[in-house]
Symmetry: C2
Subunit: 346 residues, 2 copies
């Protein structure tokens, strides 16, 4: 069974999931599926995945058969397992908890495509909609206190399968970054009476230099202390701590701006590998005045090196102001013929 | 000029170093020097680097000429600059500091090799010795409060040049991970009266299951909450908070055990890309009873994905107990004919 372990020095949890070493293509130099290799996520291959947990599908079609537009299944190589209680053992030094939780895969299209810019607006809106469905369902499970939705596109961003998908992990502990965000935003709120994210949005819109796009209630900008070149955050202007509370009539605008951000990245960077992560408050909190959900989009143009891992300190060779200027100018759809190169001159 | 920026929410500093985008091979898909390409670190090419800051060289040879065994130069594309004062500007939301500091490159051999296992024991001992020299020198600069020594080997670990080298960055702030280690170890000390690292060493030696190697006063083990497969830490058994306080007569044993750890990793994982980072207390502290310097060695066998970046949460598919067992069995020198494969079966 997978195990959660807490570092004895830093408040950092790790999932030790030994079975995952056997997932396809792990540790291989070229982890992408060759074109002729069997893809378990393509329409018609539904029997190659675990059973369907949820799907948006055409009337008169059945679970685990073709006819779906978005499909959610358990991860075949889960980092966590769904049964059991998250009991904790600890002594002076070592704390472990059973690796209980949910690890699901959202298959975002029956077609063998890779990026959200290859989905129609309606299709990506359905992906975001099924994210909400899954969160609202998992939130009923009292064992789980936090959920993470994230997407890895491209081998350099950690994807082990090419077919468009994202992942959802729900866990019995609050992970490091979420706890730091909660603590940091609460501290700001205590000092100023405001949500730090609302203040950032106000400043960014007033100054304009780091804005990438605006769409309805949503804004996208390159954050002031961007860790990565072209890192871009998408946030609702209206304050809200929990992504799963998003009104459904907002999904179309969120879909539009997120696709626009990724299209701009693909235009400027020539279709980079990328990740996005939805940052949202823990399940076990009510609506919070100090926290604000958001999506962090991170293209993989630099490699994490020892310096970053050893320090939590990032060196970003492209200022967020320059990145935002390039992204604003970029057409919304990828145009391979005139992309702006950022390659080194050496 | 490079700029240090603090995230408005989390206590995390980022170096915005826009000039670094022009360093060789950045953002390229295959960042390694082709065999026939000019290498600025090879003996005879000393004029291609900034001036020598320090070197171990043969008698009767001169700076910036051949005849050296280890050579330290300023990074040609520094993330920080050496002149100026680290003045800080801040408002409610955004904190910046001038990007003042040192960014040096330690060229570890005049030969065009890549890994420390290709150095003799004496050669790597000299590398460790010159680390001490540089730290003791930079510590005199009152502007600098923390130094990081780290090595990236292989493109997957973030190396932009193949020729064996490590880097030293000295900065005017205490970076996130160091501050977390200071706080976490101080908390343990307050509760128990012991150094948490000394306790870990005692437990690991008593239990044995995660031990990789022992050499004189040094021990190497896979930590209980390893973030990465085959992550291995090297620590002195004798308590010491500052690496630069290491007695010179300990360098031979530290060299031997560190080379042994990397050789075992190269044997088990078929010469992976890897990083190591020396974790040491800030310059501006005296000897600390609660902190213990150590070297973290991290092979690059999994890719950092959105999940890890978004959460600080790592999924490690190889338990540290299994990793340590394989590393203990591995011969000390790489043997390509019978390495133990950990590749996926998919």
């Amino acid at each position: 069974m997978p195990q959660l372990r807490k570092d004895p020095i830093i408040d950092r949890w790790v999932i030790i999931a030994a079975d995952r070493a056997r997932r396809p293509y792990d540790f291989e130099a070229t982890p992408h599926r060759p074109p002729d290799r069997f893809c378990p996520f393509c329409q018609g291959n539904e029997q190659a995945t675990p059973h369907e947990i949820a799907a948006y599908r055409n009337p008169d079609t059945r679970a685990d058969e073709p006819g779906w537009r978005v499909r959610v299944v358990a991860n075949k190589f889960p980092a966590l397992q769904s049964d059991g209680q998250p009991s904790r053992q600890e002594d002076d030094l070592f704390t472990t908890a059973e690796g209980v939780g949910a690890h699901e895969v959202i298959i975002e299209s029956p077609r063998h495509i890779a990026s959200i810019t290859e989905l129609s607006g309606d299709e990506f809106r359905d992906v975001l909609g099924i994210y909400l469905d899954r969160l609202l369902d998992l939130k009923q499970d009292a064992r789980l206190v936090h959920a993470l939705i994230f997407k890895n596109v491209g081998a350099a961003a950690g994807a082990s399968l090419e077919h468009i998908h994202s992942q959802l992990i729900a866990i019995p502990v609050v992970p490091t970054v979420a706890r730091e965000e909660m603590a940091g935003s609460l501290d700001f709120f205590s000092r100023t009476g405001s949500c730090v994210y609302c203040e950032m949005i106000r400043r960014e819109l007033a100054e304009g230099g780091r804005i990438v796009a605006v769409q309805g209630d949503f804004v996208a900008f390159c954050p002031f202390a961007s860790r990565f070149p072209y890192e871009t955050w998408v946030l609702p202007k209206s304050h809200s701590s929990h992504f799963e509370d998003l009104p459904r009539d907002q999904l179309a605008d969120l879909s539009t701006i997120t696709q626009s951000v990724v299209a701009r990245l693909e235009n400027v960077l020539d279709r980079p590998a990328y990740n996005y992560v939805i940052h949202s408050a823990p399940f076990d909190t009510r609506s919070l005045a100090h926290y604000h959900w958001h999506i962090e989009v991170m293209p993989s143009v630099t490699k994490a090196a020892g310096f970053e891992w050893g320090t939590g300190f990032h060196i970003n060779p492209v200022s967020p102001e320059e990145a935002a200027a390039q992204l604003r100018q970029a057409a919304k759809s990828p145009d391979r013929s005139k992309h702006i190169s950022t390659r080194g001159t050496g």
